[in-house]
Symmetry: C2
Subunit: 462 residues, 2 copies
């Protein structure tokens, strides 16, 4: 790809500042905030931030950017974890957070159309009194739906409700050539040509800028039952989960905390949980169906080395049971104060999950790292969260080694280096191992076709 | 696109005949059978049929085709409905039906890897004693899984289990440049770059030839309950369905037969069903869960004008209850002997389904056509099946008018001109109305990037 020309980029910056007045701002602090601030990756700020208020604003920005070959990086909440919003070549950060309207809710069809800057919590507030909800719940509370679509986000209930891949029905996006495409209408299924929706979902802003999206909704379940079960062994926990899924128990959440994570939570929240691999489970269903599922899972769990099985259906009791899971991240931060917490994200077939976690724990021990583990067992996805001092070169080297071995391990087990967080900048090195050079070439060919000048979020994915 | 050169194509034909010996055959009858034989579209045979037995065979064929710029059209069972296997420019039909192995079943992970020529019935036979099944069940009984993936096929239980879009986890495909790509590994979810799987699924053989695929499996449900409910009005039936879905009742099948279809089935199978819009429903679940769902749906149905509600759980009783649904197509053939039956395939948001069917029935009456209707209500998808004498010019003109108005109507109602059958040749004219010129341009750009010479199934989709 040809290098960017700084002069041209600065001309584009002038042009957007002229066009958008006080909705375009080059202030240093604002620009830094519109780059990676969350992880240990560098902060690479844009040259200007444009606050879009409509698809037309995005089209105009794109035209200016295309005229000057200036990078355009979409920004929602900035909560992505692999440097997705960094501007390694400078350019224009296109902040879509003001485009936060819920445009339409079709309760009979169980879908809603929103602007890309709408947040999942905002949408769910809007929907609550209609008895509907949007299920995808990544860790970042204020993530925008557009950003979640762009990174193919997932959450704790993907095992039941799916990820953004399954829950985005259509997107409206502005392409590199300034054209606006709406990838689908509202039919529940379609065989009409290429799946443009799923081409853009997960494209991390490199094929188009999503300005609106239509998402699937679900009825809020009549009954929710939470359960907690510490297990003798991790493989007992994963086998119980596999059997439950095969039996069609329709688990809504199956989360794992490893013994070290439990220790941290006990410390932080003054709980006295057994330091064992522990599942936190949720069942959604009818007033009779959900308890039946929970009882069936309890039987399976007890057959697979569960050391206990506590259940609750009332909201305050459920919250108490799940406190350890909810507090996991903060517990890790406070158990090792002054350290930085990294989030990893591999995903393997569930039959390999226990083995993958065991090998990962062995690696953690061998490298002298400290890393609690949280997992979405129903999907085979887990997050080891090593805590390090990023200014200590040997800790940094050890964790970089760990990260590479972890990604390689997952790929070798027929999995992926990223279940949820995306490639961004951080995982570019693993793509070829995962999809082969032919797969990368195919992606590059699509990218070159849709963004020949390479202005859409350069330096990401490839 | 540049025209094909007949000389070059014939050189390619010679080359494959030389390379593959008696596995390449130019016999006229065989070639005609490897083109559209099912619908009223022309039969446009290839110049040669190559019987592939491995991915390597497909690679070699593709290389020969690329060297001579000869069209390559993949062939599975030839059961697609929009002329997908036609060879309008001649060329090579690549028959994958001998590649029918089940390569691996991972019961703990609920996935299986098969060769593209494996059929869904073959896979399900293989799986039955493991208590697993693959759910996507299009009308064509012997459809190959590769063909189903290429056309993004669906079936009667998509409302619960999804379509090929949701149930293909990965494909291995040979691209126009002869490279072999495997689009994903076996993780249940991935955020690793572009969704190449869903780019190829539904690409109708125009972006690559699928040679293997990994599909999702499900546990065979413990309990299946079938039900039949005639309704006072069609809108009562669709409203009951919408409410049931919102309540999370997890219906596995919700099929509709309209009064004319019921009349035909009564005639053919000597049943005495009320000539009313009638739902045929199936519930899948546990021994207590499925009956509970069925009872809940019965209550909803009775509140929405159901005139009866008959249920059965034993296999022979279920088959008896569903006989009308199973015999629908044959009943139509025998009720109007000597006529040709066309299958249409629109899909709209469920909230518009009753209205869409009502307008369609009015159109049928106005045009003096005869057309029973079968629908997958849970998806908003229905098939009007007009019966005509294709040699009668005025009937042919009337039905062509009907087809166009039907597709336009569905698109205007925020739906799609094809829920399941694909674009192929027959629906190319509707793509722009559905996804706009920007959407078509995006598809064309991707096609040009991945198949610049245009040899993969030319004349389809665009």
């Amino acid at each position: 790809m040809a290098e960017f020309d700084r002069e041209s980029i600065l001309l584009a910056v002038s042009a957007v500042r002229q066009r958008f007045g006080d909705r375009a701002d080059s202030g240093a602090a604002l620009c830094r905030q519109h780059a990676n601030t969350i992880t240990w990756l560098e902060n690479q700020p844009p040259d200007v931030v444009v606050f879009a208020e409509s698809t037309a604003d995005v089209v105009e920005t794109m035209r200016i950017a295309a005229d000057h070959r200036a990078p355009v990086i979409a920004f929602g909440a900035g909560s992505s974890l692999e440097g997705h919003v960094n501007a390694p070549y400078g350019g224009i950060s296109l902040d879509l957070s003001r485009m936060d309207r819920v445009i339409a809710v079709h309760s009979g069809d169980l879908d809603a159309t929103v602007e890309a800057g709408a947040t999942r919590v905002g949408l769910n507030s809007f929907l609550r009194d209609q008895g509907l909800f949007f299920p995808v719940d990544p860790g970042a509370e204020h993530a925008t739906l557009g950003g979640m679509a762009a990174t193919r986000a997932s959450g704790t209930n993907a095992v039941r409700y799916g990820t953004m891949r399954e829950n985005v029905m259509a997107v409206t996006a502005v392409l590199a050539n300034g054209e606006v495409v709406t990838t689908s209408r509202r039919a529940r299924k379609s065989a009409a040509g290429y799946d443009l929706t799923r081409l853009l979902v997960g494209s991390e802003g490199t094929l188009g800028i999503i300005t609106e999206l239509t998402v699937r909704l679900y009825g809020i379940p009549e009954c929710v039952i939470a359960a907690v079960a510490p297990f003798q062994t991790l493989s007992g926990a994963t086998e119980a989960t596999m059997l439950a899924i095969q039996t069609g128990l329709g688990l809504a959440r199956v989360e794992l905390l490893d013994p070290l994570q439990i220790w941290a939570v006990n410390l932080h929240a003054h709980l006295g949980l057994a330091e064992r691999p522990t599942l936190f489970i949720e069942f959604h269903g009818s007033a009779t169906g959900a308890p039946e599922q929970a009882a069936a899972f309890r039987d399976i769990a007890m057959d697979h080395g569960a050391l206990g099985f506590e259940m609750a259906d009332r909201e305050e009791d459920r919250r108490r049971l799940w406190k350890a899971r909810h507090d996991a991240y903060w517990a890790t931060r406070s158990a090792w104060p002054g350290k930085m917490t990294l989030a990893t994200d591999v995903c393997v077939p569930i039959s390999r999950l226990a083995e993958c976690i065991a090998e990962t724990e062995a690696d953690i021990a061998r490298l002298g790292l400290v890393s609690p583990i949280v997992g979405h067992v129903g999907d085979g996805n887990f997050h080891a969260t090593p805590v390090i001092d990023p200014d200590n070169p040997s800790e940094r080297a050890a964790v970089e080694d760990f990260l590479k071995r972890l990604a390689d391990r997952a790929i070798a087990m027929d999995g992926t280096c990223t279940g949820e967080h995306g490639i961004g900048q951080g995982k570019r090195g693993y793509l070829a191992a995962e999809v082969g050079s032919a797969g990368v070439a195919m992606m590059r060919a699509v990218k070159a076709a849709l963004d020949p000048a390479g202005i859409l979020n350069p330096g990401k994915i490839f």
